[in-house]
Structure formats: C-alpha cells, structure tokens
C-alpha cells in the first residue's frame, strides 16, 4: 500500500535542499544555490518554507561585511526526511 508523502518534502527544490543538508553539518546559502542550480529568489522562498516548518534552522550573519546565510537541518527535519524516504520506498518496490 502506498504511504502518503510529506507535501513539504515532495517538491524538487525543497527535497534537494534537505538531501544536501542531511549529509553535512551546516551549509552556506551560496553552496546550496550552486549545488541545486536554483535561482536565489526561488531558493530563498523554499528555504523559508522549510524553516517555517521547523525542518531547518537559518542563521544570518556577516562575514567581511558581506551577508552570510547558513542553513542546518534540525532533528525534526532529519526525522521527517527519514519518514519521507521510508514512504518513498513503498512506491518504488515492485508490485
């Protein structure tokens, strides 16, 4: 039986962001932008949605007078990502 997929994660860019953050401790916005190939505007919107859901934390600061945005996955984010992957398996198993 197919299990419901978390709609917040079942989106190409948000899932890409979460997949990047699950394998690292912390990543800068520019790193995520480069790896996902997304536009800064779109990425900001999706990161904000993940932050609102409590899946990631976003830390804004400055480095050498330039704004610096660092993203980190939360425990809730890890748990939801694991559940998403687990549920995804039910779709991919041969019938």
């Amino acid at each position: 039986m197919f299990k419901e997929l978390d709609p917040l994660l079942h989106s190409q860019l948000r899932l890409a962001v979460m997949s990047l953050l699950i394998s690292v401790e912390e990543a800068e916005f520019t790193f995520i932008k480069e790896k996902t190939g997304a536009t800064a505007g779109n990425l900001s919107v999706q990161i904000d949605k993940l932050k609102q859901a409590g899946y990631i934390t976003v830390n804004k600061s400055f480095r050498d007078n330039y704004p610096l945005t660092q993203c980190k996955i939360t425990k809730k984010g890890i748990k939801c990502f694991e559940i998403y992957v687990e549920n995804l398996k039910s779709y991919l198993k041969p019938a």
Partner: protein, 196 residues
Amino acid sequence: MEFNEKQALQVIEEMISKTKSDMKDNSFYYLLWGWIVFIAAITNYYLLAFTNFEYHSIPWMILIPIGIIITIIGGIRSKKEERVKTYIGSSMKYIITAFWVSIMVISFTMPMGDQWKAFYPTFMVLYAIWLYISGGILKFKPFIYGAVLNWILAGVCYIWHDSGVHLLFISLAVLGGYIIPGYMLKMSYNRNVQRA
C-alpha cells in the same frame, strides 16, 4: 510538471553524491610539512656528518617557524572560504588539534629534559597515529601504509640510538608517510575534479 517518486529518488541520490564529490584538496599541508621535515632532517644530517658546524640543528629552527606561519595563514584563509561544514571536517579538527598540541609538548619539553634518544622516534609514533586516522577517515590507503612505515622506523630508532640514523629515518618516514602519499592524494583529487 508533476514531480514523481522516481525523480524524488534521483534528486536525493544526486544531492548526496554532490556533497561527497565536494571533498577539499587536503594534500597541501601533508606536502608542506613533509618537505619541511625532509629538508630539515637531511640538512641537519649533512651538517652533523660531514661538517664541523656547531649549530647543526639550525635548519629546524629556520624551517619550522616558516611552516607554522604558512599553516596559520592557510588555516585562516580556508576558514574564510569554507562554505560547508561536514561531520568529517569537524571531527578532523579535533584530531588535528590533539596532534599539534602533542607535537608542541614534545618539541619543547623533550629537548629541555635532554631526551634526545627518544625525540625523533616519538615524532614518528605521532606521525603514524595521525596518518592512520586520516587514512581511515579519508579512505586513503597510502596514508595507512605510511603509518605502518612510521611505526616500524620508530621502533627501530627506539632500539638503535644514533643521531645520524634517526635523522635519516625521520626523512624516510616523512617521504613515505607524507610526501609520496601527499602527491598521490593531490593526483586523486585532480582526477575527481576532472570527472565531476
């Protein structure tokens, strides 16, 4: 356009492999310190064995501070350039700190306590620990072989007390543990970059 389950799996795989391929070129510090210790030890050996020069250990006093300055500048610069913090990177920092503190303790206290017989072999034991751990974490076998070489040479030096032999052995230890594996690491990094 609908985002289906197969595409979701592809996204996950692609992103995880992208963080894996983003490994930094770590060879610089292995090569820097490998060459510094190698040149200092060989020059020290030459001055000791073939000249009457009183201050035969002077190469260390010149080269080590240069190495420390380059390492500090490089460390500050790479911290500024660091855009992603990995779990491996964070654990390596603890190991590097432990290694450096141990090196500093030995460098300052052993000569003060006149412990010259054990001086170089103790360095080799520390090199071996560092090489073994970093070889394991980076999954890079040449460092593991380098560690074994350093353990063997250290063992021989603890038994065979001869300053000249110790200097030749430490240069051999860094050649096999740092310089050769350092160039191999650089080559494998360049190959990965070309492939990516």
